[in-house]
């Protein structure tokens, strides 16, 4: 009950972590099934339809329901602490964002047991995804599930933007903000400007499928390429929504364990902004082969390659930070250091793909699959592992086991390269992506076998990580405030895990790496910016949960609104949008309740703070 009504950002972080972890597990199992199908030529482990469902759900689940929520988990756990705030700007919305994400994800995954999962790829290209080619409710689960989950992401993005703008502690100017706070800020801005595009795309596709509209129906004047434009104008920025937070994490972990300040802090900030900006102008590099023409292709190719410049700046800054530092290879730092070469390789294949003429060869082959897994798994997932190991003691008050951590790292990174390195060659040799099997004796056999073995090894790495979590959770919570001893930022100046109110007194920030600065000045902790006083806290509430249940019901109702449930009462309920209406009523009713009942929250008094 506590968990359902909480509005505390630290608990919401944990909710995001468990939910994201759950979906990550589901997506991982889907990946292993895909790899098992491809282990040998002409395999019949799954049929073509199931294979399509597996790849679609794997991609969709991983991106929207796996890694994004884990990113949000870390942001929620860390950002208010790093900027010296007692909370996010809108605790209620924070909870609402989590619950809509969760119910959207549940809706999407229910497709497995409710008549067929989406089967048109995670990009849901039209006309493959129109009713003519995808006859089950699968794609409806995709459009409506993602719509609901996307709402949660958008809410989260706005909340973090407002939090960073308004809740920074005294003295924390923008140019004193930790890099993770910066990348969260920029990522949230990308979310704000990219997600509404996919919102519209999903609405249009839903209307085509459920209301018989013609947006993507060439026979009635619609345009399938329009979907690609809308999808990628969201989709390309989305890849930066994924990678920038990882950049932020790496920029926190490396200075801590190199015991040096981040090299080129301000160039890092500007590189981040530049990447975000350029990210909005390159979407058509996913569409070189749709026939945009040579001029458009050339422009998009060049603008894409430009992104390599700020990205390169980042890579060199991390290397220069490590250079000459007294580096400690703890688990988080292993992941961070492993990130650098792996991500760089993904960037290099990206530039190769950005060459439009060459892309005519690479497009829709395993070369592309290798590219984006190098950036997403070798980049983002490694970054998340680094971040989770790094902030685990802050989140849970317990240090993860270092030995198991190192095992996780080595099995994971070796498995990763085994899986995806060979896919570059498979692609160059002409193996197409999204095809459920291949013929023997095309030189695909061995490399596919290697790839599947690698995937198994990554699975083992993940299991070791789970074991580590279980082992750790049995230990007493005894992590120090600053368990890595070289913490530089504000979150390490308060207890692990932090009390509900984070900071007894708001800290005064006197420079970049605020805590490090105080340590170097010989102080034991932060100087407070205010006397101990009564602290205002928001009250817990079940409304965000209930509102999301309402949206969930409405989504279901709408999805089945054209179905014939053998006549009778159920058909009546759905066909007249009664179920939809009921769901919306629950949601709007809760909104009304929220606005009518004034909630002043509660206060923690100074006596209580001292008596802890």
């Amino acid at each position: 009950m506590d968990w359902i009504t909480t509005v505390d950002h630290k608990k919401i972080a944990i909710l995001y972590l468990w939910a994201g972890g759950l979906f990550f597990g589901i997506g991982g199992i889907e990946a292993l099934l895909i790899r098992w199908q491809l282990i040998k030529p002409m395999n019949d482990f799954v049929d073509a339809q199931t294979f399509n469902e597996l790849i679609t759900m794997h991609g969709t689940t991983m991106i929207f329901l796996g890694v994004m929520p884990i990113i949000f988990a870390l942001m929620n756990a860390v950002i208010p602490l790093q900027i010296g705030a007692r909370d996010v700007a809108f605790p209620f919305l924070n909870a609402l964002g989590f619950w809509t994400f969760l119910f959207g994800g549940l809706l999407l995954n229910l497709s497995w047991v409710m008549g067929g999962a989406p089967d048109a790829g995670w990009t849901s290209y039209t006309p493959l995804s129109t009713s003519a080619y995808s006859g089950t409710h699968g794609v409806d689960f995709y459009t409506i599930g993602l719509q609901i989950a996307g709402l949660g992401t958008l809410i989260g993005g706005i909340n973090f933007l407002a939090t960073v703008i308004t809740m920074r502690a005294p003295g924390m100017s923008y140019m004193r903000m930790p890099m993770f706070a910066w990348t969260t800020f920029i990522t949230s801005a990308i979310i704000l400007f990219a997600f509404p595009a996919i919102t519209v795309g999903l609405v249009l596709l839903t209307f085509d499928r459920i209301l018989g509209a013609n947006f993507f129906e060439p026979g009635a004047g619609g345009s399938p390429v329009l979907w690609q434009h809308i999808f990628w104008i969201f989709g390309h920025p989305e890849v930066y929504i994924l990678i920038l937070p990882a950049f932020g994490i790496i920029s926190e972990v490396i200075p801590t364990f190199a015991r040096k300040r981040l090299f080129g802090y301000s160039s890092m900030v500007f590189a981040t902004i530049l990447i975000a900006f350029l990210g909005f102008m390159v979407w058509a590099h996913h569409m070189f082969t749709t026939g945009l023409g040579p001029v458009a292709n050339a422009l998009f190719a060049v603008s894409t390659m430009l992104i390599a410049v700020p990205t390169g700046i980042k890579i060199f800054n991390w290397l220069f930070t490590l250079w000459g530092g007294s580096v400690r290879f703890t688990t988080p730092n292993l992941f961070a250091s492993g990130f650098i070469p792996t991500f760089t390789m993904g960037g290099v294949t990206g530039v190769m793909l950005a060459s439009a003429p060459a892309d005519f060869q690479f497009h829709d082959t395993y070369f592309v699959v290798a590219h984006f897994h190098y950036v997403i798994v070798g980049g983002l997932v490694m970054g998340l592992f680094a971040g989770l190991h790094y902030w685990w003691p802050k989140m849970f008050g317990r240090m993860l086991n270092e030995t198991l951590g190192k095992w996780t790292f080595w099995t994971f990174i070796i498995g990763f390269h085994l899986t995806f390195f060979v896919q570059h060659f498979l692609g160059l040799m002409g193996m197409q992506r999204r095809v459920f099997t291949y013929l023997p004796n095309q030189h695909f056999d061995t490399l596919n076998l290697v790839s599947t073995i690698g995937a198994g090894l990554m699975g083992v790495g993940t299991l070791i990580f789970l074991t580590n979590i279980i082992v750790t959770s049995r230990k007493p919570p005894d992590a120090a405030d600053d368990p890595w001893e070289d913490g530089r930022t504000l979150e390490w100046s308060i207890p692990s895990p932090p009390p509900e109110y984070n900071f007894k007194q708001t800290p005064l920030v006197r420079g970049l790496d605020a805590l490090w600065k105080e340590k170097m000045a010989g102080n034991k902790g932060m100087t407070p910016a205010e006397p101990v006083g009564s602290i205002h806290m928001p009250s817990a509430t079940p409304l965000p949960f209930i509102m999301s249940v309402g949206i969930f019901i409405a989504g279901f109702g709408f999805m089945f609104s054209r179905d014939d449930f053998g006549g009778g009462f159920v058909s009546f309920l759905f066909n007249n949008y009664i179920v939809t209406g009921l769901g919306l009523l629950i949601t709007f009713g809760s909104m009304l309740l929220r606005s009518l009942v004034d909630d002043h929250g509660w206060h923690i008094e100074p006596e209580e703070l001292e008596g802890r």
């Binding site: 700007a89 704000l192 509404p196 085509d208 205002h536 004034d598």
Partner: protein, 208 residues
């Protein structure tokens, strides 16, 4: 942390009650951000409409359908309602809850007039012109863009009406003021969107 006080400050309200508390300021800021997202949303819908507006699939064309006097009347109602919502905010800043309520009421009534005309327009098209959601790519794009805007108007009407009710029994405080202010921002936003719809959909449809 700044606390929120429901009671008016020192008996009277500060000059800009919507910005008197940290919560209020946050709310206004977040709403600006939200409107940024809404702008992208409508931008995408406009782009879709522009891409598909010629694809009439042998159904009615824009030129055959649109009846400018009707649309002009709707435009008039909506533009004036924006003005009245400005008056409402001015009344709020002068701490005149009764005036505030009256101007909000006028705004809602004008919004209802707009919505009524739009519903009338749509039913005309469907009944007499065989122009429905499924007719052509153009029709789908038209109903989705204009309908989305209409849904926003409807939501705005509901929202402001509820705020009028709330004003009735809670009065004008530093808690209710930001809500009213933000709803006025929303109302201006859908008004601006309508100006674009009027130009891009209707005027361009008639002459372009």
């Amino acid at each position: 942390m700044t606390t929120s006080h429901a009671e008016p400050v020192h008996g009277g309200l500060p000059h800009e009650p919507e910005k008197a508390t940290a919560e209020g300021r946050n709310k206004v800021l977040a709403f600006w951000l939200f409107l940024g997202g809404e702008a992208v949303l409508f931008g995408t819908l406009f782009a879709t409409f522009l891409a598909l507006r010629g694809q009439t699939n042998e159904g009615p064309t824009a030129n055959e359908l649109f009846h400018l006097p009707l649309v002009a009347a709707a435009t008039f109602f909506l533009l004036v309602s924006s003005l009245t919502s400005v008056f409402a905010i001015q009344a709020m800043h002068r701490n005149h809850p009764a005036m505030l309520r009256n101007w909000l009421l006028v705004t809602v009534v004008l919004g209802l007039c707009f919505l009524g005309l739009e519903i009338y327009e749509f039913t005309q098209y469907v009944r007499h012109e065989q122009f429905g959601m499924t007719t052509s790519a153009f029709s789908s794009a038209f109903y989705t863009l204009v309908g989305f805007h209409g849904a926003h108007v409807a939501f705005g009407i509901l929202w402001i009406s509820l705020l009028i009710g709330q004003l009735g029994y809670k009065g004008l405080t530093v808690v209710t003021a930001p809500k009213i202010y933000v709803s006025a921002m929303y109302w201006h936003f859908i008004d601006v969107v309508w100006v674009f719809i009027f130009t891009v959909v209707y005027l361009l449809g008639k002459v372009g």
